[in-house]
Symmetry: C2
Subunit: 153 residues, 2 copies
DNA sequence: GTGCAGTAGTTCGCACCACGAACTGACCTG
DNA sequence: CAGGTCAGTTCGTGGTGCGAACTACTGCAC
């Protein structure tokens, strides 16, 4: 009781903060001339090249959806399909030089913007938030769709 | 220092938890035979009818995007366009009876699923998380894209 | 009251996204 | 070497999101 009217439940807070982060992500992508999905693809590939199947499970997409996404990104020169030397069926998707620098720029800018969101939180509160959200992310086995910014560790 | 390797920064935690919530939201929508965007529209309209312009700013969509979304939802019988008695140009979008019950069911189920995500957090930790995220949501003026579950207050 | 600027929504054309079903070709096991 | 499986692609369908151009109504200026 005695909650002021600004009080919010965990569920609402999670859903609405997700909405907020999406909007920031989308706007950032837009300014770099890519779609949010392409941005996501680039961010995943920053870590290492992936096979199509792997990418599908990481991004939560069907195989056929991925073919198109990679096609378009390849057409834009951001990504390259390399043959897998071990398996003639398989393909390894990797960033091109252009893709790599765009990914880096997009990633850094997106980090910057997301980092501004908790502006009013103290460093300590940010730490608490990170650790609680981090547990949710780990417990639910959220794939590595976003690298850890090195300076934040 | 002395951080174990599972440690995560705020930025990564926010982005990845958003990814997680999206996935849950999308899967829930899927099971109710609607797209996430339509689900979002229904959730917003649960609170009250909206004009198209209002809806655009709330959902962060361009006018023209909204026309289509409302068209499709109307075609599915979930939503209705009512004339605004005050202004002959304007329109009020409201849930139909079908839309209202679908919205309610979708909303409840989505809440249930999102509520499971922080499963390993104690009640107290959940409270802390809610209040920190709540401040982010308030500070950044995230629109009411999701009602507050009554029982969580 | 007439005229005109601004507002609410729609239309159109475009590119993208996501899916399932059906398919191709390489792998592998018996 | 035959049949099953696995990686990816193709195809068709429907939904999404945008900007530019458009229609129709509102409201203010005069």
């Amino acid at each position: 009781m005695a909650k002021i009217d600004d009080e919010i439940g965990v569920v609402g807070a999670l859903v609405r903060s997700a909405f907020l982060v999406n909007a920031v992500y989308a706007e950032s992508a837009r300014e770099y001339g890519i779609t949010p999905q392409q941005g996501q693809l680039l961010c995943v590939l920053m870590a290492k090249p992936y096979g199509m199947g792997e990418l599908g499970t990481t991004l939560g997409l069907a195989k056929s959806s991925l073919t198109g996404l990679v096609d378009r990104s390849e057409r834009n020169g951001l990504v390259r399909r390399e043959p897998d030397p071990q398996d003639m069926r398989a393909v390894r998707v990797a960033l091109t030089a252009d893709g790599s620098s765009l990914a880096e720029a997009f990633y850094v800018e997106t980090c910057r913007r997301v980092a501004e969101l908790p502006g009013s939180l103290s460093a300590e509160e940010s730490g608490v938030l990170a650790s609680l959200l981090g547990r949710i992310v780990l417990d639910n086995e959220v794939p590595m769709v976003f690298l850890e910014p090195p300076e934040s560790r």
